[in-house]
């Protein structure tokens, strides 16, 4: 068809091409990722940089917490800026409900088959793929107290020496799930759990909102026990204090983070390539070795000292008590209301 272009148009096209080549970098394609702020330097080293080398493109990252980033995606719904987003499972479900993301064609992901069963379709309809898990449990000063059950948080020697996650954090509802279960709760509104937490609220040093705060509280000898996600464990270990990770008899809880594709994303091919890269055995191994994320890819082999710090292994992953994301989405408001009327006041 080219020979049919009028000369003038051809000249203009050539001129445009020349101009574009002067612009250089601006011509390079970019993939926009929306992600959590943590470990971005390591993610760049272990994931973005190797991917950029392969795709000859640039990865631009917008960071922030889930609510913030969801709000941005909603504001740009008609003209999406983001291609791929990293979200907690229930936030991804919220994004799906708001029609902000689209189903993933898993046949385009060659690493999909390598995922643990639970990561394959965590929120249903293939709206997202899980790329990491984290366990949540109690960490405690083993020289001060012994923890074998979620009920041990009620031990009198821990009065005034514990930190618990606030309901507003990702850990908050999962803690309620376990506490409710431990104290024999039967209703999905976690009434028993909320009631039990309210009984010790005076003895809780703080209901933390940022997980990093917990490290400081242990360091300053403010607390002897806290409920935290496994992703905090590497930092806690660095304190070199006699702190242990509990394996309560009622089990561990935790969560899954997922990768989603924005609806009408502008760089869908790059988005698929990027997700595939993230799920690859190589990238998942690199990220695990740097203690960024626990692997969702079951082919990842880790040395014991690394596996010990992460949420690793088929049994660990299968044993996690997770809140089904649909229930989280449905019940979260009632948990927050119950918490606000009994605990926050």
């Amino acid at each position: 068809m080219r020979h049919m272009l009028p000369t003038l148009a051809r000249r203009a096209a050539i001129a445009a091409l020349l101009l574009a080549s002067f612009a250089g970098v601006a011509q390079e394609r970019t993939l926009v990722l929306s992600a959590f702020g943590v470990s971005q330097d390591l993610l760049r080293k272990d994931l973005y940089a190797p991917f950029e080398a392969k795709c000859k493109c640039k990865v631009v990252v917008n960071v922030g917490n889930s609510a913030d980033r969801l709000a941005k995606m909603e504001a740009r719904k008609a003209n999406p800026e983001v291609d791929v987003a990293v979200l907690a499972d229930f936030s991804a479900l919220e994004a799906a409900a708001k029609d902000l993301i689209e189903p993933i064609d898993v046949s385009r992901l060659k690493n999909y088959a390598k995922l643990h069963e639970m990561a394959k379709d965590p929120i249903g309809n293939h709206m997202g793929v899980g790329y990491t898990y984290f366990a949540t449990s109690i960490i405690y000063r083993k020289d001060k107290v012994k923890i074998e059950s979620w009920k041990d948080l009620w031990k009198p020697e821990l009065k005034g020496r514990i930190a618990l996650p606030n309901i507003t954090t990702t850990q908050g509802p999962t803690m309620l799930l376990m506490v409710d279960k431990a104290w024999g709760g039967t209703t999905p509104d976690f009434a028993t759990g909320i009631q039990k937490v309210s009984e010790i609220k005076g003895g809780v040093v703080t209901f933390y909102e940022r997980a990093a705060q917990v490290v400081q509280l242990f360091q300053q000898d403010e607390v002897h026990a806290a409920v935290v996600g496994r992703f905090n464990w590497p930092l806690i270990k660095k304190l070199n204090m006699p702190i242990a990770w509990a394996t309560p008899k009622e089990g561990l809880t935790g969560g899954i983070n997922v990768l989603v594709i924005a609806k009408n994303a502008k760089n869908k091919d790059l988005a698929y390539a990027f997700i595939d890269e993230w799920l690859s055995t190589e990238a998942q191994t690199r990220l695990a070795m740097d203690l960024v994320d626990s692997p969702a890819n079951k082919e990842v082999k880790l040395p014991p000292e690394v596996a010990d710090v992460l949420t690793y292994g088929k049994e660990t992953v299968a044993g996690l008590n997770l809140i089904p994301p649909t229930q989280m989405l449905l019940r979260r408001k009632s948990w927050v209301d119950g918490w606000n009327s009994k605990i926050a006041r």
Binding site: A71, T168, E209, E222
Partner: protein, 274 residues
């Protein structure tokens, strides 16, 4: 100053445009978020907000802490300002500089320092247990007391500086005159100094109160979720619950609180004039 008025208008245009786009438009959007209801306009959102017991508690805690911090700053501020104004000429500048010094350090750094000072093993608790005032270390961190201490430390300099400039404008002999006429010190302070420096108190009081009720770092770091104030609640509503309506309502309440406080202080000062 200018031959043509147009030049003046042209010069003011960029700043006016900036204020319009950067302030008036966002405030209008904020107000529409807070006053808009499904059926039109109204105070329904505010009724819902104050219908929530937790939010009412947060509101009153904010008013209480703002008031107490302002009161404490006024008391400490007058003492410090009188000392500065009374100091020999060479020392005035140095003392004022010392008052301003903390303002040059980031509030984040200043607030974090309090975590170390107020902790179980911090300096204050070492002192308390060392002196035998208490067997157990006091629980200070994540309490209203901690937020109060942090806010006073944060905003006291603003009060001191306002009062210093007010006291410097005091006619030089009025206090001596009052003393000669038989007024003792407290009486001279109440009858002479206070009425003549009330403008400084109004400015300082407004700055300290507005600063205290809108501070975020201090209540977030020293109070945490157990000592929510309006500003920390606002952040929580936006960043966790994605609830921009409640956030707009809180923002409007904060603006109203600042305006009302300023008006009240001004009114009180005006009454003192008669």
């Amino acid at each position: 100053m200018f031959d043509h008025r147009r030049i003046g208008i042209a010069l003011a245009a960029p700043a006016a445009l900036f204020v319009a786009l950067g302030f008036i438009v966002p405030v209008a959007i904020l107000l529409s978020g807070a006053f808009g209801t499904p059926g039109g306009w109204g105070l329904q959102r505010f009724a819902e907000f104050f219908g929530e017991p937790l939010y009412r508690e947060v509101f009153w805690r904010t008013v209480k802490l703002g008031g107490l911090v302002t009161l404490a700053s006024a008391l400490l501020g007058y003492a410090a300002a009188l000392a500065i104004v009374d100091a020999p000429a060479g020392w005035k500048g140095r003392l004022t500089g010392l008052v301003m010094l903390p303002l040059m350090i980031s509030p984040v750094a200043r607030t974090y320092a309090w975590i170390v000072l107020l902790g179980r093993t911090g300096m204050i608790n070492q002192l308390v247990t060392g002196l035998g005032l208490s067997d157990e270390p006091l629980r200070l961190l994540f309490t209203e007391t901690a937020v109060f201490i942090g806010l006073v430390q944060l905003f006291l300099p603003l009060m001191v500086l306002s009062l210093v400039s007010a006291l410097e404008n005091l006619p030089p002999d009025v206090v001596s005159a009052a003393r000669v006429l038989g007024a003792n010190w407290p009486l001279a302070f109440v009858k002479v100094i206070l009425p003549l420096t009330r403008e400084g108190l109004v400015i300082g009081g407004t700055l300290v109160f507005t600063g205290s009720v809108t501070a975020y770092i201090t209540p977030a770091v020293l109070g945490g979720s157990k000592v929510l104030m309006l500003e920390t609640l606002l952040y929580q509503r936006v960043s966790v619950a994605n609830d921009f309506v409640a956030a707009s309502v809180i923002a409007v309440i904060l603006i109203a609180m600042s305006v009302v406080t300023h008006a009240l202080l001004r009114h009180a000062a005006g009454r003192g004039r008669k």
